[in-house]
Symmetry: C2
Subunit: 224 residues, 2 copies
């Protein structure tokens, strides 16, 4: 399993990420995915998004208050966030929790690298750790939002968080360049799709959100 | 602000964490807190828990669907997790999100260190980054739990997660060595204190949880 690949051209103090992408491609460690395809991840590998976006989802195994106490119920998939271009991710699961990655956009390109390869690439390794440190901070903010009792506060906080991180400017404000279904939003904030649909209508009426290009969520400048 | 302190005795390849604690104490970079005291954190510093436990809480600033749209409401504090002995934490806030650390137990001892000091302590630095990587993974599991629609599933998943990470064995199973109020649990899973009280009663009746030492939460072995 352990790779014995040499990095003669990469073992440099100031490695650029573009070099890593080029190297991975020349060693068949890249793949292009179409929208909503599941990424066949393996533990011990770290993935970098070169193009497109990844959606991370989670499931937890429940055995609480069921008719049969021994029967395990697999929960619905919960949306846990995006991994955008240039960002790394890894998928670690354990019996009670199952994480998965899907390509969120068409033509999403990934490369992968072994953790132990990173010993030879200290700068990239450092960059990846800094990214996880940052992602951890963002998840603490996300958890702060999910502690709100009202669904509308959770929904609005959730949208703010995503637009702040990934938003692109437009005339009215900023929009999230990744489409999100009401089901995905509902799973992220622990409510039903029906509630999200109702709240999204209400928020649009009040001008607190808008639609960009008819399907992408935007936030007016004042809310930024 | 930047420290110009030398680490003659610490700049070793195989630094032990105990050495760091000793060094910090000899340089007045340690402090003992009593229960529920707020930690006066500063950005650019990294904190290590030598003894006791830290509780991280978050607040998000909301301005959604209020009577006055311009008025900001500061949400209640949301429980975001524990930092146990030997673990590092940092507090990064931004205008919309405010994170804070409290000592969760009496006689909680912290030391602190500047990020730039860690350049001289590569092993400790690596250990800290690995810890953040791990904490990030745990938060993804936590978010998977919070996406559950039923409060009881969120509560049970949340308790499982904490006991799995911090639990200590006892005759009946494992118990969480840190007390948690129903309010704190409610804030973590986005429900009311009243609901948590009702659900905790129900879960105890069904034998899915038990109380250890009359105030600590335990999970029977079967659920582990």
């Amino acid at each position: 399993m352990s790779p014995s690949i040499q990095f003669p051209e990469l073992n440099q103090p100031l490695l650029k990420k573009s070099d890593v992408f080029a190297w991975a491609k020349s060693h068949y460690r890249d793949r292009t995915f179409s929208k909503d395809e599941q990424i066949p991840t393996r533990s011990g590998l770290i993935y970098l998004v070169e193009q497109g976006a990844i959606r991370i989802v989670g499931q937890s195994q429940m055995n609480v208050l069921n008719t049969k106490a021994t029967e395990e119920i697999t929960s619905e998939e919960v949306f846990l966030g995006f991994i955008g271009e240039g960002q790394p991710f890894e998928i670690v699961s354990q019996p009670q929790f199952k994480l998965q990655a899907y390509s969120h956009l068409d033509e999403t390109v990934l490369i992968w690298i072994y953790w132990q390869d990173l010993e030879l690439l200290p700068n990239l390794r450092q960059e990846i750790f800094e990214s996880f440190r940052y992602q951890h901070q963002r998840k603490l903010f996300w958890l702060s939002i999910l502690g709100q009792k009202r669904s509308v506060d959770r929904l609005m906080g959730f949208l703010n968080l995503l637009v702040e991180e990934y938003g692109k400017p437009c005339e009215q404000g900023y929009y999230l360049p990744y489409p999100l279904t009401h089901s995905q939003m509902a799973s992220a904030i622990g409510t039903t799709r029906v509630t999200v649909t109702r709240l999204m209508g209400k928020l649009r009426q009040q001008g607190l959100i808008f639609l960009y290009d008819e399907h992408l969520i935007g936030l007016p400048k004042l809310l930024q």
